[in-house]
Amino acid sequence: MIEIRWHGRGGQGAKTASQFIAEAALGAGKYIQAFPEYGPERAGAPIRCFTRIADKPITVHSPVTNPYAVVVIDPTLLDSIDVIEGLIEDGVLLVNSAKAPKVIREKLKLKKGKVATVDATKISLETLGIPMPNTPMLGALLRVKDVVSMDILISQVKNKFLKKIGAEKTDANIDGIKRAYQETEIG
């Protein structure tokens, strides 16, 4: 079972991303769970969401405590939240940041696992024209762990977005995902 914890701020699409990747995995025949940690939701407040993906039915219904992957959608959270709490030994920390993985690793004094960075906000601005880094972060996640194949993720984007936002914006989202996959640095 792969467990992922997402850190974002209310309104940045962390919950949507956590569900999106789970739904893509469900489409690929996996068992899934995606749930946010509900508090008093306000735009801008730090939030956490969780995704579980497994080959067997998932019965556990407690929050993820030892994630394989931590995805930080807003880099400013690195200063206020212990994002690496419980990260497993060979886990991955994926951060939306223009900085090199080494810089993040030093900042957090992280010795274990892998660190990956991608400037998802820049990619989002250049592809979509708005700062919505959550979809590019899905591409970056696939780069660090093939939780689903790129083809499945892209067909999921088409399924979900085409009717809602039209072909042009859907393609922009797919571009963003592909660019993030390419531009992710791992260290």
Binding site: E23, F35, Y38, V60
Partner: protein, 394 residues
């Protein structure tokens, strides 16, 4: 073919309601039930159901409208949580005593105060003596199935009692999981076309009176009838579940026994926490420890004999309650289990744990600690403090 759809527990229940297509839904939104009403009212707006949706001004009105509608012979549903259920209170009892087969999903949430929107069972546990049948679902899939089952159970001539279909607020109600939705037509066939068993309020050819004054001379007889209906429910619900299982290839039961073969100690817990406990049982079994789990899916009527059969051979049992009764004698589930075991010749040592109040998380480690404690009291052959708390700060 049934298909697997990513849905929250709330959405799964709304899908069941869409398939049931009740004649009337009168409901008021309250967290964490809101998504049920929101999703269902969208189905109404989109013409996917023929339901008359009554957006009432309070839960008291919601249940009052349901009582009127059900007495008029309409298949009737509502849904609520916590303070909403509390505001319905007097009509909740009236619905049961007027023998109206209303089905109400309840998304379990702590009943204030201090105000809290997260999961515990204090809301529906308070209504355990109201005369409603209560089912508790482990996940969204079960909440969906229970909602369909509840229609058949409530409307049976030998039962005619309203049913609450409970699931854990946020934990399952707002968690997306793959839910296997049954085919619309098969669900419709299973629940059948609604034919009220009692004369209805709007039948002008045979006028009747619902809800008259009922004093010392007949009230007790009507209560005795309700007890009888609950006895019938105990006998009949397994049969309805069998039919459901045969029709849809499922394995519903009024209690679930998980890895109880050869178990020495066991935990009894309802709803989503049972799922978390299963992970612990699997781990401990791999270590060779003889542990098992029992999960009542039906709480009212109480599956007494099944519980006796399941646990009387154990050495020790822990009952986990997601509600406090403030009796100093343990939580509501513990009280019922300890009471039914009085009639059993063999009695395991028994502990009670209160957990998860106001949405306090419970982790596999907490449950593993309970099993550890059970083995400890088995070797000491003595249960010390019978009432304990998980996850509260001292």
């Amino acid at each position: 073919m049934a298909k697997i759809t990513p849905l929250t527990g709330d959405q799964a229940v709304a899908e069941a309601m869409r398939q049931i297509d009740p004649d009337v839904v009168a409901a008021y939104p309250i967290t964490p039930q809101t998504e049920i009403v929101m999703t269902f009212s969208q189905f109404v707006a989109d013409g996917k159901v023929k339901t008359e949706f009554i957006p009432v001004e309070s839960e008291h009105s919601a249940m009052s409208a349901c009582v009127g509608s059900a007495a008029a012979g309409a298949r009737t549903m509502t849904a609520t949580s916590a303070n909403g259920l509390a505001l319905m209170w007097e009509i909740v009892y009236i619905a049961a005593s007027m023998r109206l087969p209303i089905v109400m999903p309840v998304v379990n949430r702590a009943l204030s105060g201090p105000i809290n929107i997260h999961c515990d069972h204090s809301d529906s546990m308070g209504a355990r003596d109201s005369g409603w049948i209560q089912m508790y679902a482990e996940n969204g899939q079960e909440a969906y199935e229970d909602t369909i089952l509840a229609i058949r159970i409530a409307e049976r001539k030998d039962i005619l009692l309203p049913v609450m279909v409970c699931q854990d607020g946020f934990i399952t109600s707002h968690s997306v999981e793959g839910v296997e939705l049954l085919e619309d037509k098969l669900v419709k066939d299973f629940i059948r076309e609604y034919k009220p068993c009692m004369p209805t309020l709007l039948d002008t050819d045979k006028p009747v009176t619902y809800g008259p004054l009922d004093l010392q001379d007949f009230y007790f007889e009507h209560k005795r009838q309700q007890s009888e209906a609950m006895k019938n429910a105990m006998a009949t619900i397994p049969k309805v579940m069998d039919e459901f299982n045969r029709t849809f290839g499922k394995s519903c039961n009024i209690i679930e026994e998980y890895k109880m073969d050869g178990a020495e100690v066991g935990i009894i817990v309802m709803s989503s926490t049972a799922g978390t406990a299963k992970v612990v049982v699997d781990e401990l079994r791999e270590q060779g420890l003889k542990v098992g789990l029992i999960r009542p899916r039906l709480f009212r009527p109480f599956p007494a004999q099944k519980i006796i059969d399941a646990i009387s051979g154990l050495k020790a049992v822990a009952v986990l309650d997601r509600a406090e009764s403030f009796s100093n004698c343990g939580g509501p589930l513990f009280n019922d289990i300890r009471a039914v075991m009085y009639n059993s010749e063999k009695k395991p040592l028994m502990l009670n744990y209160i957990f998860g109040l106001g949405g306090r998380d419970i982790f596999p480690k907490d449950i593993a600690d309970v099993y550890k404690k059970l083995f400890k009291i088995v070797s000491a052959n003595r249960a010390e403090e019978s009432i304990n708390y998980i996850g509260v700060r001292e």
